[in-house]
Symmetry: C2
Subunit: 349 residues, 2 copies
């Protein structure tokens, strides 16, 4: 768990620590990665970029400052981090991860708990994109999750997919349960799913995962016409609706109109604050809301559902589900609509 | 939903609003309550009390300022509120709540979305307790949830129970699901439940609810010896353990030692920040963590589980579950251990 790398405060896990010891020497159960690219969490990058009015140099300086101060990349405001790719430089003899030196890997644990040192001053990054080319090292613990990058895919594409691979896996699990319950009690109509932010990375994968898991009717909600056109072209949702997810009445109206009924499963994939109430309002009694956005407010979700007397199950989107990397990469390979959206997004970055 | 009472920002629901219109005149679907007592949310009261170093006059002044500024009692730091009791003063002819003037009721929706005016300057409150005697009025919307106070119970006792009645109801629902799964696949041993903060209001009710729902082995975790003694005397848990819930290793060790295995269901009922990681570590793969504390950090929970590669389901504790008031009052009436803890707590206030 990396407790020995926690500098302060003592006794917490690395993710909760203010500062980690990122020393280069590894313990017998650790692995050191030579890093080549960070992928900042979308909520974190958005916060930094908005704070500095889009000034890339200022964003870069703050990211460097965070990493050198904290020994990890964890945005102090959003609390979120991101992930990285690199090459295994040294694997401790007691590491259970099974990596060999020279393998190219992506971390599936958050940067918020990964000891990290940047040695090139982020000189190759303009501060205007979530993808940060860099040199330096990172440390993996015994329980850290990482994946060897597939050889058939562009590493940037793999990284973008792996970054959000928990979302389609948990969506598939939840939708499957509703589908199984429906099968046991037929006659209830199709299982309905709404994905808020359906044209984004986690959103498009979640739509594809929901359909594969047996969702009978899906809607992808997007904020603007350009995303609507892209998602319609991708063919991942039965309906695409445009709505501001921060407007509860607009969001729930859009979802209910598109599906004919409220959603049984609502998946929140938009990285802006204030979407909790709309998601709850858009969800049927007995339904489930899965919050994947790091901008989610726990109190807003809990009190919002109570205030609306909404009998919905609300899940904290856990980034770890067994098999999540394979499932997400399989969707990328098998769903041209998903692949098209990811490639367009990378090209635009 | 009370959208017409939102002053700013426009378009959000009352809970998310900065300021509500608390005017005395009611719409046809509203109800006006003459208030007699507020019950501040524990996390909110703790924050205010710590901020002011226990100075009751300063706490009172700030609560008055919040209510007059915002038109509701919502702590700007914790985002949480509380609930109230009072007497129905006027019920609109189209209100679906079924109340009549003169009935004594408790609100089960949060104060964070309840238009509120205090007219006595909180003169009867010393600022040192969550229970705030007061005069003034509050407004209920069509979808607000409220309960007529039972005649067989002290109103303060009912209020304290109703304040947290979502916790035992959701605990019972989740534990029942594990019990049913176990019954379908016998031979797996008893269903194990850990309640963090087991001697508190929501904690003691959750322990009683878990046992009634069929939990085979329960542990209540408390921070200090006095609470341990009280919970042991109440007889609500098979084992009582003392541990600091903010110390992940200490908490998970305490739970696993007490149960012999990690918990299948872990219920977090302590109103201090930083308990997310310990709760995840204390929970078995395939298990569920229910977060009821308003001090829960969404990001800490999501990233913590990912960082630990923990395949646990994490629920945002929804304060509304159908039948929650009746279930909680039933536990109070039927479990002398619960009643004893509540009465001791009220006596100490």
């Amino acid at each position: 768990m990396g407790l020995h790398r926690v500098v302060e405060p003592a006794g917490v896990l690395p993710q909760a620590a203010w500062r980690l010891d990122a020393r280069r020497e590894i313990a017998p159960n650790e692995v050191r990665i030579r890093i080549e690219r960070l992928n900042l969490d979308a909520a974190s990058f958005r916060q930094l970029s908005e704070k500095h009015g889009g000034d890339g140099n200022a964003v870069r300086a703050e990211v460097l400052d965070i990493i050198s101060t904290r020994g990890k990349m964890q945005n102090p405001v959003t609390g979120s981090g991101g992930m990285l790719i690199g090459t295994v430089e040294e694997a401790g003899r007691r590491s259970p991860l099974g990596f060999k030196a020279g393998e190219r890997v992506a971390t599936l644990v958050s940067l918020t708990l990964t000891p990290l040192v940047v040695t090139d001053g982020l000189a190759r990054w303009d501060g205007r994109s979530e993808q940060v080319p860099c040199d330096g090292w990172a440390i993996l613990f015994a329980r850290s999750i990482a994946a060897v990058l597939p050889e058939d895919l562009d590493p940037q594409l793999s990284l973008a997919v792996l970054d959000v691979c928990g979302a389609p896996a948990l969506t598939a699990r939840v939708v499957s349960r509703y589908v199984a319950e429906r099968a046991a009690q037929p006659g209830g109509g199709p299982v309905t799913v709404a994905v808020i932010g359906g044209a984004g990375k986690s959103g498009s994968l979640s739509l594809a995962a929901a359909r594969r898991a047996g969702a009978g009717r899906t809607v992808g909600v997007v904020p603007v016409a350009a995303e609507r056109d892209a998602l319609v072209a991708a063919g991942l949702a039965d309906t695409v609706a445009v709505a501001d997810a921060r407007d509860p009445v607009a969001l729930s109206t859009a979802v209910t109109s598109a599906l004919g009924v409220p959603a049984e499963v609502t998946v929140v994939c938009v990285d802006v604050p204030g979407c909790e109430h709309g998601a709850v309002l858009a969800t049927a009694d007995g339904g489930t809301v899965i919050f994947f956005s790091m901008a989610t407010s726990f109190a807003a979700a809990a009190l919002g559902a109570e205030g609306l007397a909404a009998d919905v199950t609300m899940l904290v989107g856990n980034g770890f589900v067994p098999g999540h990397a394979e499932l997400a990469l399989g969707l990328l390979r098998g769903e041209p609509g998903v692949r098209g959206l990811f490639e367009a997004r990378l090209a635009a970055d």
